[in-house]
Amino acid sequence: MTRSHILFLNVSGIAVSLVLWEIAGRIVGPSLLAAPSVVIGTFLDLLFQGDMLRELFGSLRQMLVGFGLACIIGMPLGALMGRIRLVDALFHPWVSMVVVTSVAALAPLFILIFGTGFEFRVAIVFVASFGYIVLTAFHGARGIDPKIVDVARSFAVGPFESYRQVILPALFPYLITGARLGLIHAIRAMVMAEMFVLVGYGGLIFQSGQELSTAPLISYLVSLMAVSILANSVLGWTGRRLAPWYDSKMSR
């Protein structure tokens, strides 16, 4: 299939969905489902009013703190787990536990511990993204071909140099993938936490559900979608830019 053919299918798929949405919206009315033609006006209004973007970026800033902490702690931990059996044995059961635990169930508990402010949101985002970042780094580190490590050793490369020259480049695609996966869960957790305590962007979403039209609600969801897709492609682009071997490793 050629590129233009694929592009045509992409565009027509989106167009068909929009038409179906428009028809459905016209039938049930904006109080149940606002049609795209209605949403676009509301969306532009909210965009120029400024509240929507301000709340969104405020929430994202807080999210980045939790997500950043999860990366700083999770990536080295995952890499160590993949290379050293003892570290793996010590941490793996608890990391699996964190991954399967639903962050929503932790929300009431975290409110008790941290209150409903900044720390609460950071903690929820951290817990939600941490496990995925660790496990992806773990699989990357464990899957490193022993041959390339042996080659480095045969050439008497020291442990620090072999880490920098061999392990890290081999690990890098997995770290980026882990960050992309973690980011998805971080955004999910951010919205969940904010909807729970009715602050920030999540609070905005929850409260817009009480309005007469669903157009503002859909507008908020569309902005969230745009940010999420943008962040994901920025990370993917960074991966390809910093490590040209990223795609060959991750294309499948």
Binding site: G13, F91, T101, P108, L109, I111, S208, M225
Partner: protein, 272 residues
């Protein structure tokens, strides 16, 4: 069995498997147990520094669990919660698997649907809660709907990726040997799909457990959600941790069960 040589094998075999069991014990179970015990000790240690209302010690959580299980309250609530989880998950599988298979096997369908699925998937499922309230209210239907929304996209994406990666050679081989479309589907495509269908089931199940408790906290607080809200109102962190612990255990249990089923049903499929 009667011959001398096979007798030697018969004697040697149990000894070998005995060593295997012992090795598996020391390699797998001991570190696991050690990690759990060490973690619990650390937790007990940390809890002794924090006020009990905020962060209960494992001993107190255990005490609470014994009480809640003895009175039957927690198991009954769990049984009620599982109902909407199962229904939502079944619906998600019913929709997600066919859609994923079509997207995975047809290039046209993939390129048409992929942007739409990616777009909706990138919206956090909880953000649909206001919508679900408008459409389904705040009771059983809404809970089923949230579980469905939370699980279905993960299932579609997993199945699509799996179906796209089916080795084309095995289908070509079937075609070369003159297999009909139906035969190719039942004898080649379906067995080749089972591994990623199991993966989709596993991911879907974990998302469903997640959706189950999220629904009960965000819609009308019932079952486990009510239990947590009551505990939160009473500053009872032991009760909250008990629920979190049970949910995590429940999730792990489902995951391990599906993994076990996978190794029994699909012995040819080697997992890493």
């Amino acid at each position: 069995m009667n011959g001398g040589s096979s007798g030697a094998v018969a004697i040697a075999a149990p000894r070998k498997s005995g060593i295997d069991v012992l090795q598996r014990m020391t390699r797998k179970i001991l570190p696991y147990a050690g990690s759990v015990i060490l973690g619990l000790l650390l937790w007990q240690f940390a809890a002794s520094f924090l006020p009990g209302v905020v962060f209960a010690s494992p001993a107190r959580v255990f005490e609470h669990l014994v009480g809640a299980f003895a009175s039957g309250e927690l198991p009954i609530r769990f049984a009620h919660s599982v109902q909407h989880m199962i229904l939502g998950m079944l619906l998600a599988l019913l929709v997600g698997i066919p859609v994923g298979m079509i997207m995975g096997r047809s290039e046209t369908a993939f390129h048409m649907l992929n942007p739409v699925v990616t777009a909706i998937f990138s919206i956090p499922s909880v953000a649909f809660v206001p919508f679900l309230i408008i459409w389904f209210g705040i009771f059983f239907e809404a809970r089923v709907a949230l579980v469905f929304v939370m699980a279905v996209f993960d299932i579609i994406i997993t199945v699509t990726a799996g179906a796209r990666n089916i080795e084309p050679r095995i289908i070509q081989a079937a075609k070369s040997f003159g297999a009909s479309r139906r035969l190719t589907f039942t004898r080649v495509l379906l067995p080749a799909s089972l591994p990623f269908l199991m993966t989709a089931l596993r991911i879907g199940a974990i998302r469903s457990v997640n959706g189950m408790i999220t629904a009960e906290l965000f819609f009308a607080a019932v079952n486990l959600g009510e239990y947590m809200e009551d505990a939160s109102a009473a500053f009872d962190s032991a009760a909250m941790l008990s629920v979190v612990f049970c949910l995590a255990l429940f999730g792990l249990l489902i995951q391990e069960l599906i993994k076990y089923a996978e190794t029994r049903l699909l012995p040819w499929h080697v997992r890493d």
